[in-house]
């Protein structure tokens, strides 16, 4: 039972990673790509970590695994914020629908 749940979670995680990567490749400007990365990938990471935690052999190992998620969240939030600030500072305008696709 536990294995099935963990496999399911891992598959979901992989799915979100796939979405994030497609977003990264297809989105028109840096801001959109940031969304894809921080939101989709982090969720994917969360699900993967949960799936692995179920298979972890001891509670301590499971907790250490789970600790990865919040750290990654904090780090990617700060980094994407810094990138967005930098991009704004350089005058990159967010994409508007009426512009033609790059």
């Amino acid at each position: 039972m536990l294995e099935a749940l963990s496999a399911l979670l891992l598959l979901a995680g992989a799915g979100f990673y796939l979405a994030g990567t497609v977003g990264l490749l297809r989105f028109p400007d840096v801001y959109a790509r940031l969304h894809a990365l921080t939101k989709a990938d982090n969720l994917g990471l969360g699900l993967t970590v949960l799936g692995l935690a179920l298979q972890a052999d001891s509670l301590a190992a499971a907790l250490k695994l789970l600790l990865i998620w919040p750290l990654a969240l904090a780090a990617s939030a700060t980094v994407s914020h810094a990138i967005a600030r930098r991009a704004a500072g350089l005058g990159l305008k967010p994409w508007r629908p009426e512009e033609k696709r790059p």
């Binding site: 780090a75 939030a77 700060t78 914020h81 810094a82 600030r85 930098r86 350089l90």
Partner: protein, 315 residues
């Protein structure tokens, strides 16, 4: 199945290395190099060498990456525009191409010869891992890598710390004594908050790594690298000013670990030979040395970044 995963990892390694060296844009080369570093960390994990994986991630990819990015920043100050096309491709004229071709050929031949030779290797006659295992009891630590690093080949580590110290001293002769570092623009509040949150955690885990080194992958170098990462983070969040020219106390911190190691080595001469730990106090002495090294390595590795990054261009 394992071989497939390793094969994929090796291909990714080679691809990222090739692109890092051959890509026309310098910024992309550096980023790809950092990716290469992380992949190397994975490779070390696959070769069940957790100590090296930790060190590679923290020092190889982390610190080196930070240094490279900072150097990149200096080469194209603040434009953020893609770096000027400094062609990685060799010059187009015929002589240049022939030269490139011949060097590539020689490198290829060397690789082929080496690869071919690797398959002809006989089984090694001397089996060191067994000898390490046999002498583990007398080494004062349980983790084999730490035992080799600080006891069996402790002399190598002594010289290696000297190498780090001499690199820092070399930096001091280069970095201009005067000149405050240029403030990298207004402080990013989010970064400051993250730093305040993460740094205590990093220092705590550095202490854990130092303690765990005795019986689990870890040790002075990884702990020192973590401390350095904390210092870099504080600097980027402008909570820690750069060091232009270290005062007496900071110099003591930088050289302290090495001096402790040297003092212990000299004192142990009375035991008959250099670095001969008496079995009873071996563990304690190694921990003392590792503690000193952690602090000093932390300061030195941080110094490699802070001294280097802080000093702005001298006219």
């Amino acid at each position: 199945m394992n071989l497939l995963l390793d094969g994929l990892l090796v291909l990714a390694l080679l691809w990222s290395a090739w692109r890092a060296l051959a890509s026309p844009d310098l910024a992309r080369a550096v980023v790809l190099f950092i990716v290469f570093g992380l992949l190397m960390a994975l490779a070390w994990a696959r070769l069940n060498a957790p100590d090296i994986a930790l060190a590679e991630a923290a020092i190889g990819a982390g610190l080196t990456g930070a240094l490279l990015l900072d150097a990149l920043g200096r080469l194209q100050p603040g434009t953020g525009a893609p770096a000027p096309e400094s062609p990685a491709q060799p010059p187009a004229n015929r002589a240049g191409r022939r030269w490139t071709g011949s060097v590539a050929l020689v490198a290829g031949l060397l690789a082929a010869a080496l690869a071919y030779a690797l398959f002809q290797l006989p089984a090694p006659t001397v089996r060191l891992p067994e000898q390490v295992a046999a002498n583990m009891a007398a080494s004062g630590v349980d983790h084999p890598v730490t035992a080799v690093l600080l006891n069996f080949r402790g002399y190598d580590t002594l010289l290696e710390v000297a190498v780090l110290l001499i690199a820092l001293i070399g930096l001091l002769t280069l970095g201009p004594a005067a000149g405050r570092p240029a403030a990298p623009g207004p402080a990013n509040p989010l970064l400051k908050a993250l730093a305040r949150l993460l740094v205590p955690l990093m220092i705590l885990s550095a202490g854990y790594l130092l303690w765990a080194g005795a019986h689990r992958p870890g040790g002075a170098f990884q702990a020192g690298a973590l401390l350095a990462a904390a210092a870099v983070l504080l600097h980027l969040a402008q909570l820690l000013p750069a060091w232009a020219s270290p005062g007496r106390l900071l110099r003591l911190g930088l050289a302290g670990g090495f001096l402790i190691f040297l003092g212990v080595a000299a004192a142990l001469l009375a035991e008959g030979a250099l670095l001969t730990y008496p079995p009873a106090q071996a563990g304690g002495l190694i921990l003392l040395i590792e503690a000193g090294l952690t602090v000093s390595l932390g300061l030195i590795l941080a110094g490699l970044f802070l001294l280097f990054a802080g000093a702005e261009e001298r006219p």
